[in-house]
């Protein structure tokens, strides 16, 4: 059987992207990274919840919902590790300050992973007994998640929230509005641009799109994820060059 290759140019770009990042993982170790405001602010939110004497809401929305081939595909998977790493760090801080962390998601598998990471965080703080698996909530659809989040915000008078993830149809702002009712501190970043716009309107601390994916690498002690993050800059630089130089070459008729 003979196989025809479709779009060799895209295949080349994909292979080159992986090659760049794999090489970066070796050669860019130790490269310094700029700050992302939500990394430190997320831990600050735990302290604010402590002062107010209320639980912290950690909501990641649709994160991981697209394990199953949904149309938004890869982008919903990309920030799964990042949110889990953040949850582990928040859980560690919360355990030491004895703050309850209530989570919300739309996926049972992601909820199961959340349990692993949260439990690890409480263990790292030396307070595994403070971990309550019943504080991990999931709903089969976005509607259930938003409606129940609002109810919990009112019921627990939530004082601080970290909402880093992927919500749906900007429904994150309905949760933000409920948080405004209780006067909660809000740390937010969304993976999708329209949801991110709502975070820009309401959040006390904000991160944009890919910054939310990068948070996991910032929180890790491993130098390899940071090196890969630095390697991504090469791909972005290449795309910028494609536009700048490519436009001139197209105009000159070279292509």
């Amino acid at each position: 059987m003979s196989y025809e290759i479709v779009r060799l140019d895209i295949l080349t770009v994909m292979v080159a992207s992986f090659a760049t990042l794999l090489l970066s993982s070796q050669f860019l170790r130790g490269v310094k990274l700029r700050q992302i405001p939500t990394v430190e602010a997320s831990l600050e939110a735990v302290r604010v919840a402590t002062e107010k004497g209320t639980p912290l809401l950690f909501d990641t929305g649709w994160t991981g919902a697209n394990f199953w081939g949904h149309s938004s595909g890869l982008t919903t998977l990309a920030f799964v590790p990042s949110t889990l790493e953040l949850l582990k760090n928040i859980a560690q801080e919360a355990a030491s300050l004895d703050v309850r962390v209530i989570t919300g998601t739309t996926n049972a598998v992601y909820a199961m992973m959340s349990r692993d990471f949260m439990e690890a965080g409480y263990g790292m703080a030396g307070h595994p007994e403070r971990f309550n698996p019943d504080d991990i909530y999931f709903y089969p659809d976005n509607t259930g998640l938003v409606l129940s989040d609002i109810e919990k915000i009112h019921r627990y008078n939530i004082g601080a929230a970290v909402m880093i993830g992927g919500h749906n149809q900007t429904s994150n702002i309905v949760i933000y509005e409920a948080l405004a009712t209780t006067g909660a501190m809000l740390v937010a970043g969304e993976i999708w641009p329209n949801d991110n716009s709502m975070a820009a309107l309401c959040a006390d601390y904000l991160s944009f799109a890919e910054e939310n994916i990068a948070i996991g690498s910032y929180l890790s002690d491993d130098p390899v994820p940071k090196a890969i993050l630095a390697g991504e800059d090469i791909i972005k630089g290449f795309l910028i060059a494609v536009v700048v130089l490519g436009s001139i070459l197209y105009y000159l008729g070279v292509f």
Binding site: R7, A41, S71, N168, N194, L206
Partner: protein, 293 residues
């Protein structure tokens, strides 16, 4: 214990918005609207066609005429946006029927399927669409089939092999319309996504399939890449998009009744934002500075 009504209570905002919507609904007026470029493009593609040239050789589509095979993907957020998409979808559907097109419908989730079952199909095909004379020859409903992008990858080669029956249990091979509407990469002449994503990379860049999009007003914000990148050859966004398509196609609908509401609410919001910001600048900043903005 009785409580006084406090002007700083933000629930006044909610009451005001509901008030505007109510009064706009009981006193609708028609307004002139400009037709945006992506709506013009949408009608142009339906009416006259388009050339798609991402891969070699380019594909010429000559507009929707009798027998044009149109695959409609109810695969985005239809259930959530229906109140903002209803008129555009209905008007375009009527236009496709008037042009004698063959329509294949797929829903990516149970809620999307239920939305069209309740609000669209009864209007177009009656209470039992499977009993309509056009069913099987001009319209086939695949219903909810799980799989998202993976399914679209599979259907590009063969629909019937992956999904042997329609939403009502009929075998697809028994429906005349499906005889030459099976290999979507070649046999779908046009795709119309209802807030659908993923078509750009699955169909457009590899097979030059013409793709149009219908979404909510704000769908344009996250679908803009697909329009400026040239993947979508036209878009209708929100009830305003529906009104624009009514103007372009001459098919009457209900889109214009929504424009009174947007006019009133836009005017009120502009006045409030201008006044509150002028007062803020005059008083000097007192509230907290948000990091994000």
């Amino acid at each position: 214990m009785s409580k006084a009504l406090n002007l700083s209570d933000k629930r006044w905002i909610y009451i005001m918005i509901f008030g505007i919507i109510f009064f706009s609904s009981v006193a609708p007026i028609s307004f002139p609207i400009p037709v945006v470029q992506w709506s013009k493009d949408f009608h142009q593609v339906i009416n006259q066609g388009v050339t798609v040239d991402f891969a070699d050789p380019p594909r010429e589509f000559e507009g929707v005429t009798a027998g044009t095979r149109v695959f409609i993907l109810n695969s985005g957020e239809t259930s959530k946006l229906w109140g903002d998409m209803s008129e555009a979808v209905t008007t375009v559907w009527k236009d496709l029927i008037s042009r004698d097109a063959e329509i294949l419908l797929w829903s990516s989730s149970p809620d999307n399927e239920a939305t069209l079952n309740k609000y669209l199909l009864p209007v177009i095909y009656g209470a039992n669409p499977e009993s309509h004379p056009d069913y099987g020859t001009k319209f086939v409903n695949l219903g909810y089939v799980a799989g998202g992008n993976q399914l679209l990858e599979q259907w590009k080669d063969d629909v019937i092999a992956i999904t042997p029956t329609d939403a009502y249990g009929n075998r697809l091979e028994d429906l005349p319309m499906m005889a030459d509407f099976n290999n979507l990469k070649e046999e779908a002449d046009l795709m119309i996504g209802l807030d659908a994503r993923g078509l750009e990379t699955i169909y457009v860049v590899r097979f030059n399939t013409p793709v149009l999009e219908i979404g909510g007003t704000d769908s344009a914000s996250y679908l803009a890449l697909s329009y400026t990148g040239g993947y979508f050859k036209g878009m209708l966004m929100g009830q305003r998009g529906g009104a624009e398509y009514e103007l372009l196609s001459g098919i009457k609908g209900n889109s214009f009744s929504y424009l009174q509401n947007t006019l009133t609410i836009a005017a009120v919001m502009i006045i409030i934002m201008v006044i509150s910001n002028v007062m803020y600048v005059m008083k000097g900043p007192t509230s907290k500075v948000t990091e994000g903005t």
